[in-house]
C-alpha cells in the first residue's frame, strides 16, 4: 500500500516533467510588440551583425532585438510545421529562401527595398542578399612557400602539389563549381552544373581530402597545419589568418554566394522583421558589416573602408574582380536537395 503510493507519486511527477519537456512551448512571444529574435551563426560573426545592424536599428527605432541561434534550417522547418515559431529574422543561405518561399519563409515586402541596387538575379520574393562571401582557394605557405599554386586546377593536382586538401561542409558554397572550372568548363557555361563531372574531378583528390564537418573544424585545421590547401569562405579564412594560420589566397577563381535574412512563416513579428531587413539592406549598414566581418557588401552603393589586412581577402579589388563567378541561387534552390543527397552518398560510399 505504502509502496504503491510512492510509485504513484513518482510516476505522476515523472509524467509531469516529461510532458513539460516533450511538449515544450519554446517560449514563443505572443504579443506583437515584443523584442525581435535574430538568429545567425553565432560567435564573432553574430557579434559583428549586432554591431553593424542591430545596434543602429535599436537606436533609430527603439525596437529591442534579441540574439538567438545558431541558424539551423531543419530547426526552422520543424518550428514552422509545429506552429511554434520563436525566430523572427534568420540568417540562412539565399537558396533556402528561394526554395522554401511561401512554405517555410514569408514573402518580403519589396516596397521597402530598392531591388536595383543588388546584382541581377539575386533578389527574389523571399530573400534579399544580406552579404556576399567568396569561396577562396588558400594554400599553406609553410608547405608551398617556394612553389605556390597559381590557379584553381592546382587544387586538384596532387601530382605537382602533393599534400592534404580540405573541402567546406556546405556543398552550395562552390566546391562543385571550382571542380568544374578546374576541369575546363568556362565560367559562363557552368549552370546547370554537371554534378557527375564535378564529383569525378573531386574523386581524383579524394584520398587526400578531408571533408570538414563544420567551418570551425576547417578554421582549426588551418591554424593547426592539418591542411595544406583549403577551399573556405572569406570570413572563416579571415578568422583563421587572424588566429595565426600561415595561408595565402590564390586569386584565380572565387565563387560568390550570398546569405539572406529570412522571416520564418508564422512568426508574430513579421512586420517588424520586414522593417529590420529593409534597414540592413541599406548601403551604410552593408558597408559597416563588410568592414567588421570581412564579407562582401550586397548593396552596390555600399562603400566600405577596408584596410590592408581586410583587403587581403577581398576578391572585389580591380586586379581580382575578373575571377569572380556568381553562384546561381535559383539553380541551387531547385537542386540543392538532390545534389546534397548525391554528394552525401558519394562521400560516404
Amino acid at each position: 500500500m505504502h509502496r504503491n503510493k510512492i510509485t504513484f507519486t513518482l510516476a505522476l511527477a515523472l509524467s509531469a516533467v516529461l510532458l513539460a519537456a516533450c511538449g515544450s512551448s519554446g517560449g514563443s512571444a505572443s504579443d506583437k510588440s515584443g523584442p525581435l529574435t535574430f538568429v545567425s551563426y553565432g560567435g564573432a560573426f553574430q557579434d559583428n551583425q549586432t554591431a553593424a545592424w542591430q545596434a543602429p536599428y535599436t537606436a533609430a527605432t527603439g525596437t529591442a532585438i534579441r540574439n538567438g541561434g545558431p541558424s539551423d534550417a531543419p530547426k526552422l522547418k520543424t518550428m514552422v510545421e509545429a506552429g511554434k515559431v520563436s525566430w523572427d529574422v534568420v540568417d540562412l543561405g539565399s537558396s533556402f529562401a528561394v526554395q522554401n518561399c511561401g512554405k517555410y519563409v514569408e514573402k518580403l515586402d519589396m516596397s521597402q527595398i530598392d531591388a536595383s541596387k543588388f546584382p541581377p538575379g539575386t533578389v527574389t520574393d523571399c530573400g534579399v542578399p544580406a552579404y556576399f562571401f567568396g569561396l577562396t582557394f588558400l594554400y599553406n605557405t609553410k608547405k608551398y612557400g617556394n612553389n605556390p599554386p597559381t590557379k584553381i586546377a592546382d587544387f586538384f593536382d596532387t601530382a605537382k602539389f602533393p599534400g592534404t586538401r580540405m573541402l567546406p561542409p556546405e556543398i552550395d558554397t562552390g566546391p562543385l563549381e571550382d571542380a568544374l572550372l578546374a576541369d575546363g568548363v568556362p565560367a559562363d557555361k557552368l549552370y546547370p552544373l554537371d554534378v557527375d563531372r564535378a564529383l569525378k574531378k573531386l574523386g581524383t583528390i579524394r584520398k587526400d581530402t578531408t571533408f570538414a564537418a563544420t567551418n570551425s573544424q576547417m578554421q582549426q585545421a588551418m591554424v593547426d597545419d592539418q591542411a595544406d590547401m583549403v577551399l573556405t569562405v572569406t570570413a572563416r579564412a579571415a578568422s583563421a589568418l587572424k588566429a595565426g594560420a600561415t595561408f595565402e589566397p590564390v586569386w584565380d577563381k572565387t565563387i560568390l554566394s550570398s546569405d539572406s535574412l529570412v522571416i520564418p512563416k508564422g512568426t508574430p513579428h513579421a512586420d517588424a522583421a520586414m522593417k529590420f531587413i529593409a534597414f540592413t539592406a541599406k548601403p551604410e549598414q552593408s558597408a559597416k558589416f563588410t568592414e567588421l566581418a570581412n564579407v562582401l557588401p550586397s548593396n552596390s552603393d555600399a562603400k566600405p573602408n577596408l584596410d590592408e589586412a581586410q583587403n587581403a581577402l577581398n576578391p572585389n579589388l580591380p586586379d581580382r574582380k575578373a575571377g569572380i563567378v556568381l553562384s546561381n541561387v535559383t539553380w541551387w534552390a531547385q537542386n540543392l536537395d538532390a545534389v546534397a543527397k548525391q554528394y552525401t552518398a558519394w562521400m560516404a560510399g
Binding site: 534550417a73 592539418q226 536537395d337 552525401t344 562521400m347 560516404a348
Partner: protein, 277 residues
C-alpha cells in the same frame, strides 16, 4: 509485502514504464512511415541508396571491434580488482570512474589533439620509423577513442560478475590436479560469462548509436550510422529517412539485446547451480 515480484511487465517492453520514451520512439516510427508519403518508401530507399547498408555494416563491425577491445583490456583489470585488498580496490574503482567525472566533450577534444597530424601519436610513430600515422578522421581513430570512452562500462559489469565467483572453486580444481591455467579456463571463465555478456552487450549497444566521438573524430567519408542520421536531419532535411535509419538502429539494438539474454541464460543457470550446491 516487499517480496521481489516476477518482473513480467518489464519483459513485455519498456513502454509501460516510460511513456516519454514510448511517445518519442513512436513519433519517429510514424514519421518514417508517413514522410513524405505513406508506406515503406523510406526503408526501401535505405536499401537502395548504396550508402546506408555500407554504413550499417561499418557501424556493426566497429562496435564489435570496440566491444572486443574493451573486453580484452577490461577483463584483466576487473580480475585484478577482485584480487587486491579493499583499499587498492577503492583506488582502482575510482580510476575507472574518473572519466564519468570529466566532461565527455573535454575527453573527445583531448583525443582530437592526440590523433591529429603532428600530434603525440603521429610523432611517436614517426620516431620509430612509421610515417603518416594520422588517425584523426579515420574509423581506426574513432575505434581507439571509443574503447577509452567505453572502458568503464565494461569494467564495472565484469567486476560485479566476477565478484560473485567463489575463489575456492579454483582451489578445489587445483587440489584435484588441474594446472592453474586449466582451472582458470574451465572453472573461472565460464562462471564469468554472465558478466562478460552483460558488459559486452552494453558496450556494443552503446557504441552502435554513439554520436559525439564519431562526429568529432571521424569523417563523413567513413561515417557511422549516427553521423548518417545527423546528415539526413541537418543537411538533407530528410526527417523520414532519418527516422527510418533510427528505427533500423533500434531494431538491431533490440536484436542484440535479445541474443545477449539468450546467451546469458544457460550460464546464469550454471552460476545459480554453483551457488546452491
Amino acid at each position: 509485502m516487499l517480496a521481489a515480484e516476477p518482473d513480467w511487465r518489464c519483459r513485455r517492453g519498456c513502454c509501460c514504464r516510460r511513456p516519454h520514451c514510448c511517445w518519442c520512439s513512436s513519433s519517429i516510427l510514424w514519421r518514417s512511415l508517413t514522410d513524405p508519403s505513406v508506406g515503406f518508401d523510406n526503408y526501401t530507399a535505405l536499401l537502395h541508396d548504396g550508402v546506408s547498408v555500407t554504413v550499417l555494416i561499418r557501424t556493426l563491425r566497429t562496435s564489435l571491434i570496440v566491444a572486443v577491445g574493451t573486453l580484452v583490456l577490461a577483463y584483466p583489470y576487473a580480475y585484478a580488482m577482485t584480487m587486491v585488498s579493499a583499499r587498492t580496490r577503492n583506488l582502482l574503482t575510482a580510476l575507472v570512474l574518473l572519466p564519468f567525472w570529466t566532461s565527455l566533450m573535454a575527453r573527445n577534444f583531448a583525443w582530437y589533439m592526440l590523433l591529429q597530424r603532428g600530434g603525440p601519436i603521429d610523432r611517436f610513430f614517426a620516431a620509430i620509423g612509421v610515417d603518416g600515422v594520422v588517425l584523426l578522421g579515420t574509423v581506426a581513430g574513432v575505434t581507439v577513442a571509443m574503447v577509452q570512452v567505453m572502458l568503464p562500462y565494461m569494467v564495472l559489469p565484469l567486476y560485479s560478475g566476477m565478484q560473485g565467483i567463489d575463489r575456492r572453486l579454483l582451489d578445489a580444481a587445483t587440489s584435484m590436479g588441474a594446472p592453474r591455467w586449466r582451472a582458470f579456463i574451465q572453472v573461472y571463465l565460464p562462471l564469468s560469462i554472465p558478466g562478460v555478456v552483460s558488459g559486452f552487450s552494453l558496450v556494443f549497444m552503446m557504441t552502435l548509436g554513439f554520436y559525439i566521438t564519431p562526429a568529432l573524430l571521424g569523417s563523413p567519408q567513413q561515417s557511422l550510422i549516427s553521423q548518417l542520421i545527423a546528415t539526413h536531419v541537418n543537411t538533407l532535411l530528410d526527417f523520414g529517412g532519418a527516422g527510418a535509419l533510427g528505427v533500423v538502429l533500434l531494431a538491431v539494438t533490440l536484436l542484440v539485446l535479445f541474443a545477449a539474454t539468450r546467451v546469458a541464460r544457460p550460464t546464469a543457470a550454471l552460476s545459480q547451480a554453483v551457488d546452491r550446491g
